[in-house]
Amino acid sequence: MTTETVVRPRPATADGAPPEQRHGTGLPALGFLAPFLVLYLAFIIGPALYGLVMSFFDTSLVKPGLSGFAGFGNYTEALQSSGFWSSLWHTVWFTVLTTPPLIVLAFVFAVLADRARRGRWFFRLAFFAPYILPSAVVALIWIFIYTPGLGLIETGLGQLGITSPNWLGDPSWAMPSLAFTTIWWTLGFNFVLYLAGLQEIPRDLYEAAAMDGASPWQQIRKITIPMLGRTTTLVAVLQVIASLKVFDQMYIMTSGGPNFATRSILEYVYDEGFTNFRVGYAAAVSMLFFLVVLLVSAVWFSLVRRQEKEV
């Protein structure tokens, strides 16, 4: 986000108000900001603080009030619980399975589509259309595709003489199958980001390189990949955060199974808070998850700052 446009030094006048302000009191600004700020406090900041407080209590979903003070009890319990660590591991495993293909394939498809003179609308349609579908629609289609005995993939591989496992039913294949579905579903978003990044590379760079006898492959390696560095950082971070937040696919396609093999951290929050009614504990797990997301964002900020220094 660009912030430098905002933090302008304000020329102060005697009463502390900047000269441009004609209405004097700041009241009109308050009027314009109020609708957003009221909702923002009521539904973002307020609940965030409430959740933080709740995470230090033994709050129950079925009892009013916060109930007894637990100190760091919920946190120490989470950090010692196998359910927490295994669901965190599943979430990380899902992120590892989805992020590299979603970056590399989106990059490759975008570079190829950028070279194509015709049919761009078709590529955009094919790769991007799945992205705007609701997860429930995607899940219904892919459960059918993975169905043992008559699924499209099993039949297709069978014709090549390859025997398929029970894609969603085998604990070691369930997560890769969910990852595969997710790659199909969300690739379009990264594809569009890369296409936009490619538009910003000046064409004469390629022309100059071609004059010097650089092959297309060398052009991609020496021009395209370095020039898209910032886009790749952005795509990678957005992708990691999106993958960490996975819930829908597991909830609908495997219910976190088989045998909890695909339960993600958000599904763990869901189970603890709304099946076991332990909302205080669930709030603590949410806070730990929030810390992980913040950490990823912090890494991103430092990467962007380093890239900006290099330019």
């Binding site: 900001l33 923002y40 959740g51 289609i141 936009a196 990044g197 297309p216 929030f290």
Partner: protein, 280 residues
């Protein structure tokens, strides 16, 4: 020398051809799941256990059965209302706030800006527990408000608007102000008409995100009469059993509204992603 140049040119051409072929192959592969769903939905249920693209007896009965036997039309109305409310609400409150941050000078402006910036960092998913208690206390569980209200104060929308407003020339406003127009009049008559691309981007994005949201609506909408399409589909997904044609018909019916949005607003959606993502 010319021979060498010709050979290089030939290699570039060949390379481009291969690239194009590979891309076409992948694009077609990407369409297979959607086409397969459509193909299956057009089969009678009895035919769906045979994994072939050919249909002996094509029929649209599966769509009729889904429309008749499930509440999908009710869910459709519910989704439409919630997503429209979220999109309109977000555009209104975010653009008003962004206008103040872009054009007005007031004390604590930087502080307000940073407070809004912080909101981008907070994913809604970590707030589901406190939200649930909050809407329970407000007596709003199982209402459209419970789904829509938390989606309206979107920090990122304020930034998209602010960035757009910062880029607009100020001359028109200054002329209007000399004519005695107040801020509200300038916002309504000058700024918002100029900000159509930003309005389109924010509205379409909020609409699609809201339409596709599952986790939070699933928690607060347990009454089938007001479920959204994703919640409804997730709830009935097992109910069709091995009537695969019906399952695929329900998936396609659930997808149609968004495919329509996509085809209508393809350019705005793509530019919106590119703009909001990369200008940052």
């Amino acid at each position: 020398m010319t021979d060498l140049a010709q050979r290089a040119q030939f290699r570039v051409k060949l390379f481009n051809r291969i690239c194009f072929g590979v891309l076409i192959a992948f694009a077609l592969l990407w369409l297979v799941p959607l086409l397969w769903a459509l193909d299956t939905a057009l089969k009678p249920n009895a035919e769906t256990t045979r994994t072939t693209w050919a249909i002996d007896d094509p029929t649209v009965d599966a769509f009729g059965r889904v429309l008749r036997d499930t509440d999908i039309l009710t869910w459709f109305g519910s989704s439409l209302f919630i997503s429209t409310l979220s999109a309109a609400g977000t555009v209104l409150v975010a653009s008003l706030a962004a206008y103040a941050l872009s054009r007005m000078r007031f004390r604590y402006r930087t502080a307000v800006f940073w407070a809004v910036l912080a909101g981008i960092m907070i994913p809604g998913q970590v707030l589901i527990v406190p939200w649930f208690r909050e809407f329970d206390a407000l007596g709003l569980l199982n209402t459209w408000w419970a789904v829509s209200l938390p989606q309206i104060p979107t920090a990122i929308a304020v930034f998209i608007f602010k960035q757009f407003f910062d880029g607009l020339p100020r001359e028109l406003e200054e002329v209007a102000r000399l004519d005695g127009a107040g801020y509200l009049r300038i916002y309504r008559r000058i700024i918002m008409p100029l900000a159509r691309p930003a309005v389109a981007a924010v509205a379409i994005f909020t609409f699609v995100t809201s339409w596709n949201d599952l986790l939070w609506p699933l928690l607060v909408l347990s009454n089938p009469d007001i479920m959204t399409i994703p919640v409804g589909l997730a709830t009935v997904q097992g109910a069709f059993g091995i009537r695969y044609a019906d399952t695929m018909a329900s998936a396609i019916l659930g997808a149609i509204p968004l495919i329509a949005v996509f085809l209508l607003f393809q350019r705005q959606i793509v530019e919106g992603i590119a703009g909001s993502g990369l200008k940052g």
